[in-house]
């Protein structure tokens, strides 16, 4: 069993490994980074540490949304750097039974294949487990965007 934190972007459900989550923040002052990959929303100050914020909506190539007043920032650690994933809401911690992890169903959106480690089927529907390292590798996304 491993724990995953459920996050929601638009009407889609995802989950990230709780082991890598360091904090969850609300509203924050972002400093935009010119010339950065599109998915980088900016930099924020978390108790003296500089955190790179990733707009998960852009990263997962979901349709943009106008107002996002109640956005949550899920702070994760990867390679000794901190990143904040901007999501619409954060849900429960899900204990996930690896034995019940199915292979990616063919129905998985091709946009997410590169960043999904597995798809888990909940009573409420499928939930895409995100691979943080692949999620933070923006090179393919950048090429696709340009």
């Amino acid at each position: 069993m491993s724990d995953y934190a459920a996050i929601r972007v638009g009407s889609w459900d995802f989950a990230v490994p709780v082991m890598q989550v360091r904090d969850v923040l609300r509203r924050n002052q972002l400093t935009p980074v010119p010339l950065a990959p599109r998915a980088v929303a900016g930099l924020l100050n978390l108790r003296g540490r500089i955190v790179t914020a990733i707009d998960l909506r852009v990263r997962l190539r979901l349709p943009p949304q106008e107002a996002r007043s109640d956005a949550a920032y899920v702070v994760i650690e990867s390679g000794s750097e901190y990143y904040a994933l901007i999501v619409d809401s954060v849900g429960d911690v899900l204990p996930i039974d690896e034995r019940r992890l199915g292979a990616e169903p063919l129905a998985l959106d091709p946009r997410w294949r590169a960043v999904a480690s597995a798809v888990y089927t909940m009573d409420t529907g499928p939930i895409v487990l995100l691979d943080i390292e692949r999620l933070l590798d923006l090179a393919p996304a950048r090429r696709a965007a340009s």
Partner: protein
């Protein structure tokens, strides 16, 4: 590895470094019996610990060295150079053993019979220096309580990082509580603030090391180089006690080794060449360091044959680094700077010591990476001088905050030469499609920050613009911004790997108000400007020497004004140089004036011809009054003023100097400014 051994290794490395230094010194002064004693004691003390730790191989090697040295001492023999070399060889071997010890935790296999035999051989008496009395080993100084302890570097680094965070937290707290706290809290905050600052300073001090620690290898290196190259070189070290951050010290070690090799190989001539040139056979290389504000200035000077600008010019042409016309227009100082170009080489001689066309560019880029600068000055036949100016510490950088399209960016203060507002006196001109700022007679390429960062619409240059003049190595350019905020001391933090691609940002930092700001990399900006320039360079008019570019107070501007005698003005007295048309010169009350920005500026003509083609006017100021000096041609600038001969001083002339064998009159600018203002009403300014 056990703690005792680790400590022994650290200690022995230090002992060996001292030993090496002393042996090199002994080589130069073989009759210094005090030095022999020092060396003897040093070897003896390492050996003692060796036997305690059961390090057999090191012990027997040092024992042989000690014996040999003891013989020298007891029989009062003068150590021959061969003996010193053998002892240095033993020292090298000991280093190898200690290195393996540090790596594997035990001594390497093998024996040192070769060295031991050489030691015995080398100590055979060559000459008996009379029957001097046996030197008595002085009593070792009484052991006092230790005043220093060893601290692991990681501990200090962590302490430093935590202190930096504390400084940031303090700054944020002050910002948050500003103006709305009761007096008691304000007092506590003030105290916290003071203690934090003191703590920061103390921690910074723990990271400070005397620069001499980075020089320990140099005497040996120069000695070996001199032997290999058949030269006589004396190395003088000065200011070795000057302290700087150990991180910075690590970064400048290699550049120095490189410059030192260069000086020994290319700078200093062979003894016979030096004799022919009327110099002492032994060449001098002087390395010195001193503090200058929050920077450390390190100078490496040699009295060798200097750098021949003609050879540089030829190599520049050969390598296609610049066009002929461009090269002709350059001053000697500018030509010299090509030695820092990547791939540049004069290549008519490659030795195994240096001269493969790599290196000086690395020296420069290493220095610039840490916000420093490298300069070279050289006089043919007299010597070369490299000056490296680097910040004392990298952890906390003084920075200037800039506004651009509603965002704040930081730029290291070291790169900022000055702030200029375009408008009166500083026109923005267009050369083809590129904006240029006319600043004190020279044209400065301009680049808009919003354009570089692709923020907003970029090219709005109409009206007044705030321009930050950036000086970075050979590059000087103007950065157009919307506004300039405070200067702030910032802690540099690196960017996430995904943001390192564009290289415009050197990092990020947290400002006093808690917001994050990006730090601009002046080097990357300079590279962009240079790339744009090379496309447009065909259209850039000949650059005039820029007085402001020479920060030094004793620089000179050489010019010709009628007659053959060269004249010079001190750069410190000059405001700017303007290129003018002859019709701008008029006569008022029979005196020449320059119609300049709507005002009449008194003009001194010397014997220059005020008509014909375009002329240069050097504008000098004294006590808020100005005067122009008309020149037929501006020749060059010099960084230093040679020795001034005051015997020829007179009205309007400070004296004379000799430059390249020619007399040059030094014009007393203040005299003419005063004289001009008594005969003319103060120049009135009309609205420009």
């Amino acid at each position: 590895m056990d703690e005792l051994l680790r400590e022994f290794i650290a200690e022995t490395n230090e002992h060996l470094a001292v030993l090496e230094r002393d042996l090199v010194a002994l080589d130069r002064a073989p009759d210094d019996s005090g030095l022999v004693d020092d060396i003897f004691r040093n070897i003896h003390s390492i050996k003692g610990t060796c036997s305690f730790l059961g390090l057999k191989r090191l012990e027997s090697l040092l024992h042989a060295a000690e014996n040999a040295l003891g013989k020298l001492r007891d029989e009062a023999l003068l150590p021959a150079s061969a003996a010193t070399s053998t002892l240095l060889g033993a020292c090298d071997r000991a280093k190898i053993i200690v290195a393996t010890l540090a790596e594997d935790g035990r001594e390497p296999e093998g024996a040192d019979g070769d060295i031991v035999a050489r030691l015995e051989l080398a100590m055979r008496p060559l000459a008996v220096a009379g029957s001097a009395p046996m030197p008595v080993l002085p009593e070792p100084a009484a052991q006092s309580a230790p005043i220093a302890i060893r601290v692991n570097l990681d501990t200090i680094e962590r302490l430093m990082a935590e202190t930096s965070e504390l400084v940031l937290a303090r700054n944020q707290l002050m910002q948050t509580l500003h103006g709305r706290t009761d007096p008691e809290a304000a007092l506590a905050l003030q105290r916290l603030s003071q203690v934090t600052s003191d703590l920061q300073e103390s921690v910074m001090k723990t990271r400070m090391q005397p620069i001499g620690q980075g020089w320990t290898k140099l005497p040996r290196m120069v000695r070996d180089l001199a032997r290999d190259l058949g030269k006589k070189i004396e190395l003088k070290l000065e200011g070795g006690e000057t302290e700087l951050d150990r991180q910075v010290l690590e970064l400048v070690k290699d550049p120095f080794t490189h410059l030192m090799r260069n000086a020994a190989d290319h700078g200093i001539e062979t003894p016979s060449q030096r004799r022919r040139a009327g110099k002492p056979e032994t060449g001098a290389v002087m390395l010195s360091a001193c503090h200058e504000g929050s920077a450390i200035v390190i100078t490496l000077a040699d009295d060798g044959h200097g750098i021949d600008p003609e050879r540089i010019r030829a190599a520049v042409r050969r390598g296609g680094f610049a066009g002929n016309a461009e090269l002709e227009a350059m001053s000697e100082h500018q030509v010299l700077q090509f030695i820092f170009h990547p791939g540049f080489t004069t290549a008519d001689r490659v030795t195994n010591v240096s001269g493969r066309g790599v290196g000086l560019d690395v020296v420069r880029s290493n220095a610039e990476k840490i916000g420093g600068a490298v300069e070279v000055a050289s006089r043919l036949g007299r010597g070369t001088r490299f000056t490296i100016k680097i910040p004392l510490t990298l952890a906390i950088v003084p920075a200037l905050l800039l506004d651009c399209s509603g965002q704040r960016f930081a730029i290291p203060q070291t790169a900022v030469a000055e702030l200029v507002r375009s408008g009166f006196g500083h026109r923005i001109e267009w050369v083809d499609d590129a904006p240029m700022l006319r600043l004190r007679g020279s044209l400065l390429p301009l680049v808009g920050l919003s354009e570089v960062l692709q923020l907003g619409d970029g090219r709005k240059i109409e009206g007044e613009r705030l321009i930050v003049v950036i000086g970075y190595g050979m590059h000087r350019f103007g950065l157009m911004v919307d506004g300039v905020d405070d200067a702030e001391k910032i802690v540099v933090k690196s960017l996430a790997p995904m943001l390192r691609g564009n290289r415009i940002f050197a990092g990020s930092t947290i400002l006093g108000d808690g917001s994050v700001a990006l730090i601009l990399d002046p080097g990357a900006l300079a590279a962009r400007v240079a790339a744009a320039e090379s496309v447009e360079s065909a259209h850039v008019p000949k650059p005039l020497p820029n007085p402001a570019a020479r920060g030094r107070g004793d620089g000179l501007l050489l010019f010709r004004a009628g007659g053959d005698t060269l004249k010079a003005l001190r750069l410190a007295a000059l405001l700017r140089i303007e290129e003018i048309a002859p019709e701008q010169i008029e006569q008022i009350d029979g005196k020449p004036v320059l119609l300049y920005h709507g005002a009449a500026l008194p003009l001194h003509l010397f014997d220059a011809v005020p008509d014909g083609e375009r002329r240069f006017v050097m504008i000098a100021a004294h006590d808020d009054r100005m005067c122009g000096f008309l020149a037929d041609a501006v020749i060059d600038t010099m960084d230093d003023m040679p020795a001034l001969d005051r015997s020829v001083a007179g009205a309007g002339m400070l004296g004379a100097v000799t430059i390249a064998g020619r007399p040059v009159e030094i014009v007393d600018a203040a005299y003419y400014v005063k004289a001009a203002s008594t005969r003319l009403p103060a120049p009135k300014r009309s609205a420009a």
